[in-house]
């Protein structure tokens, strides 16, 4: 059978980690070849993805277990962007050893990221529970490994231990849910499950739904399954933290989107209260937790918990609106988050990653401080930065079905969020540094990426062609 062209990115992504890792066998440890291959490969995939025409219906393959639709394509783009940025962010962790331990085996590292990304691909294009489950695991398991990448790093291994133990429990919940769902529908295929549900429900289904949400709640760091996030985010190496905070979150929310608007679509109304509750509690807890943080990555963990809550709000809306909102927001969130992590990474070269070490940044390198402020304000959702428009989409989708209460609650929580983001900006702009500051030098790559991301954060929202032409006109 002939392989349709829109499948090329997936196939390429599937094989090229082997190439990257394999290339290590043929060249010295210090050679740049794997790095170059990785760059070329990821960027090629990104370009290929962009070549796929949107709004061109969906394609099904492999006994119709693999479908590719606009949502899938755009999610792929988000995941690839996250992977590329994570790779770039990780690069100088392999070259440069300043305050922190140097990392090794960049090829395997990138390979792991690629596998996780492919897991994400699988999730968004799955059409039955089995593929679905495999994708999720494929996206998760590399993360465990990445977290513990620094074998010598004590915190890393502790974080990884916590992560994998809890993750496996979550997987168990997941499977339990799947099993009941299978039992309820008598089939693994989404369309048949949906058909069965639309014919009527029974407690079996609801138990399944409960366990599914609890299981995915872990990966999406919903309350009260968020407890792992701060520890893991802090323990893992910074680039891994960034990848976890974007890729695995994107995968998890994609999982929920596929589930809620796929098989569970007929009962979206009934599970709306659960979604609203999850969203509300999560963003509230996330905001509260971030209030008095002193360590940057822990802070980002709580902030990303809150973001997950905001994303959940969009799930209350109708399919098209919700998918649009969530994808757009994931783009924005990825960009802003990576901008923040790049700045933290640059700081982290010379000092430990705490609020205190941000002090005097505006005096030392005002452009970096501005970039930091931009990313923080974007995460806080202040117009005209992209974060605002992302949140606006989310709330728009949530409110469109009349859930004003949860939207109002989420919006009011923005004030708390703004408070702690301002705390961070304060330490970078207002606080006087104690002692003399160690100098900060940016490599060309870092500078370019920071500028690129800042421009994107500013432009992504207000420039209409981005949001309109890219995200409008889905066909599901």
């Amino acid at each position: 059978m002939s392989i349709p062209n829109y499948l090329f990115p997936d196939i390429l992504l599937l094989i090229f980690p082997f190439i990257v890792i394999g290339s290590r066998l043929f060249c010295s440890t210090q050679s740049k070849v794997p790095w170059r291959i990785a760059n070329v490969g990821f960027i090629a995939i990104f370009i290929l993805l962009n070549l796929i025409p949107l709004a061109s219906g969906e394609g099904r393959l492999f006994i119709s277990n693999w479908k590719i639709d606009d949502f899938g394509v755009l999610m792929r783009e988000v995941l690839i962007i996250s992977a590329i940025l994570g790779m770039w962010l990780s690069k100088d962790y392999f070259e440069h050893s300043g305050e922190r331990q140097q990392m090794h085996q960049i090829a395997e590292f990138i390979g792991a990221i690629a596998f996780a990304t492919f897991g994400g691909f699988t999730v968004v294009s799955a059409c039955d529970l089995l593929t679905f489950f495999l994708g999720l695991e494929m996206a998760t398991i590399p993360m465990y490994a990445l977290t513990a990448w620094n074998k010598k790093d004590q915190l890393g291994s502790e974080a990884a231990t916590k992560y994998i133990l809890m993750g496996s429990v979550a997987t168990a919940f997941e499977l339990f849910g799947f099993s009941y769902l299978y039992g309820f529908a008598g089939s693994l295929h989404f369309s048949e499950i949906q058909y069965a549900i639309s014919n009527g429900t029974n407690p079996l289904l609801w138990v399944a739904v409960l366990f599914l949400f609890c299981g995915i709640g872990f990966k999406l760091t919903l309350f009260p399954f968020h407890t792992w996030a701060p520890d893991v985010y802090e323990g893992a190496p910074t680039p891994v933290t960034a990848v976890i905070s974007v890729t695995s979150k994107a995968t998890a929310i994609a999982f929920l989107v596929v589930l809620v608007f796929g098989p569970l679509a007929p009962i979206q109304e009934q599970i709306a209260p659960l979604i609203a509750l999850l969203a509300g509690t999560t963003l509230f807890v996330g905001n509260l937790g971030a209030l008095k943080q002193s360590r940057l990555r822990r802070f980002m963990a709580y902030s990303s918990i809150a973001q997950a809550g905001y994303i959940m709000v969009a799930l209350l809306g109708p399919a098209t609106m919700a998918k649009t909102a969530i994808i757009y927001y994931l783009f924005v969130y990825a960009v802003s988050n990576y901008l923040a992590f790049f700045v933290f990474g640059i700081i982290g070269h010379y000092r430990e990653e705490t609020f205190a070490s941000l002090r005097g940044l505006s005096k030392q390198d005002v452009n970096l401080a501005i970039a930091l402020a931009i990313s923080m304000f974007s995460l806080a959702g202040i117009p005209p930065l992209a974060g605002f428009f992302g949140k606006f989409h989310l709330f728009f989708s949530g409110a469109s079905t009349g859930h004003y209460a949860i939207v109002a609650f989420a919006v009011l929580n923005n004030v708390i969020a703004l408070f702690y983001y301002i705390q961070l900006i304060k330490s970078a702009w207002v606080d006087e540094p104690e002692g003399n500051l160690s100098p900060i030098r940016l490599t060309k790559r870092q500078r370019n990426v920071v500028i690129l991301l800042s421009v994107m954060v500013v432009a992504l929202g207000i420039l209409p062609f981005l949001s309109n032409n890219v995200f409008a006109g889905f066909s599901y």
Binding site: I141, A172, Y182, Q293
Partner: protein, 101 residues
């Protein structure tokens, strides 16, 4: 020997797993209880496949996949635990207190 019994069995197994997870402080023990929980799910799959599901191969297939996936997951878990042990010289879950607010 009907569906309900199997489900109850699976649920009990799951409960035992949870119980063990709560009781145990030894990382390996915890992994084992997690295995129990996963296998409870497997039993569900099998029994549903056997009794009710019209697409009965899928369930069995699923459980096999689960076993495979769980295997590699456990492999990584053990690897991590080994590195843990190298650092901490103990496998006590209570010792993992360095990352906290």
């Amino acid at each position: 020997m009907n569906l309900l019994n199997c489900l109850i069995l699976a649920f009990l197994l799951f409960g035992i797993g949870v119980w063990g997870l709560m009781r145990r402080r030894h990382l390996i023990g915890m992994l084992i209880s997690i295995e129990l929980m996963l296998n409870a799910a497997n039993i569900n799959f099998i029994s549903f496949a056997y009794f009710t599901a019209h697409d009965s191969t899928a369930g069995a297939l699923f459980s096999i996949f689960v076993i495979a996936v769980t295997a590699c997951e456990m492999a990584i878990a053990l690897a991590i635990i080994v590195t843990m042990y190298r650092r901490h010289k103990s496998l006590d879950a209570d010792q993992l207190r360095e990352l906290h607010d």
